[in-house]
């Protein structure tokens, strides 16, 4: 559980056009995770904020690492990689959900940005 003590990707970016944000859980319920993603040239980088047990913290650390590596995310892989007890599987799933909504929100924002981009033809004088 060395990941519990790791701070490498802990952080937050101000929400904006190039940033996708995904939340899961609620602090009052004992687990909350926010994952944010943005493009870096060809790739994607991710940061996280997390409140919860060591399984939640370690999952957030691992999943943000996998995002940067371009790996597909699956809760089952998180559970096996971190060797989590089965009753913590839902925590890994929560973190993967947050990551997936962060990536979806990034793609959504990019689509909106694309559609707002003035088209070449529209610049032609009418």
């Amino acid at each position: 559980m060395a990941r519990v003590r790791e701070m490498a990707r802990v952080g937050a970016w101000p929400p904006g056009a190039g940033v996708g944000t995904g939340d899961a859980g609620a602090m009052a319920e004992g687990t909350f995770v926010r994952i944010q993603v943005r493009r870096t040239g060809e790739g994607v980088e991710a940061v996280y904020k997390v409140f919860g047990c060591s399984a939640a913290i370690a999952s957030a650390s691992l999943v943000t690492e996998w995002i940067a590596e371009g790996r597909t995310l699956a809760a089952a892989d998180v559970v096996t990689t971190l060797d989590l007890p089965l009753d913590r599987a839902h925590v890994a799933a929560m973190v993967v959900n947050a990551a997936e909504s962060a990536l979806a929100s990034l793609r959504g924002r990019e689509l909106i940005a694309d559609s707002r981009e003035p088209r070449a033809e529209s610049r032609e004088p009418t």
Binding site: R5, A28, G30, K49, F51, S54, R88
Partner: protein, 396 residues
Amino acid sequence: MPPQEAARATMAGPVYMDYHATTPVDPRVLEAMLPWFTERFGNPANRHYQQGWEAGEAVEKARAEVARLIGAQAREIVFTSGATESNNLAIRGVMLANRERGEHLVTVATEHKAVLDTCGRLEEDGWQVTVVPVAADGRVDPERLAAALTPRTVLVSVMAANNEIGVVPPLAEIGRLCRARGVLLHSDAVQAVGKVPFDVDAMHVDLASVTAHKMYGPKGVGALYVRRQKPRVAMAPIVDGGGQERGLRPGTLNVPGIVGLGAAAALARDEAVAEAPRLAELRGRLWTALQAALEGVRVNGSLDHRLPNNLHVSIDGVDGDALITSLTDVAVSSGSACASGRGEPSHVLSALGHGDARTAASLRFGLGRWTTAEEVDFVAQRVTEEVRRLRAMAAV
């Protein structure tokens, strides 16, 4: 090297601040025990030759030391394998032997599992159990306990100090009211002996459990005090065999362990008076440091009615499991069952009405014979650092 320093030097690993869980064996205790493994190996049940009667004498000397520590007579001490067995023997033994007097027993919500689960098992087998709640400060109200007594109540079991929150109940008052109602009082005194005054007559206690490994003795040996006069407690054994310990606890005696318990009891009696204020001061130092450094820290249970070596706190905005996992260089216990994955508060914190285990971490600090001011400062600093780090990690 003086024994204290020798003991310190052998304590490797994280800074140990979990003396309620167990204690290292005092080197003086170990020294007393060693001959009884090898050259003095006799069975005290064999009285007609030297090896046997030597062992018998050593056991009787230990019995006298344990008795002296709690203000009892030597013949009122029964050796056991520890406090779990002592609690079982006390509760089952008394209820079994007093069936005609009644089938009702009373205990308290914050007792150790060795008491609560024993009572629970008896309930399954047809006995009646009342579990009295505690107030928000962790103390049981004697009036409330008195109200639970019926003409069929045989036994009340109230611990002398709580193993999690260190809270000390008004035991003498409870003892007086039990005595007045003709009800026997058992006390799990594991955490109290050697730390706060515990005298079976002053407390009006009829049965008391102790264990060596919480007072710098070895693991796997303990004792049960059973009052023999005014009143004489009627007891039945819970295991059968060769009739040792007046038939109450048959089985060949653990001579080295018993010698260790006796030596630990003698040291506790000699040193407790000086140790308590030293520990209380160190505990105060820890509490002051944590309060100064961190917002949202509170003590669980009464700070005034508490073992001198205990501090139990809840810290807002941190998960208990995350905090314990982060404190790799400090050996303390978490007050919640997070580590087992459920994130539920312990039955003791629940009994205090704490419903915030999901958003607060609780930590139990247990100070002991070898705790130093430097260790206290280190632990306070490390807890502060990790709480700040985890809070920053969670802040959105």
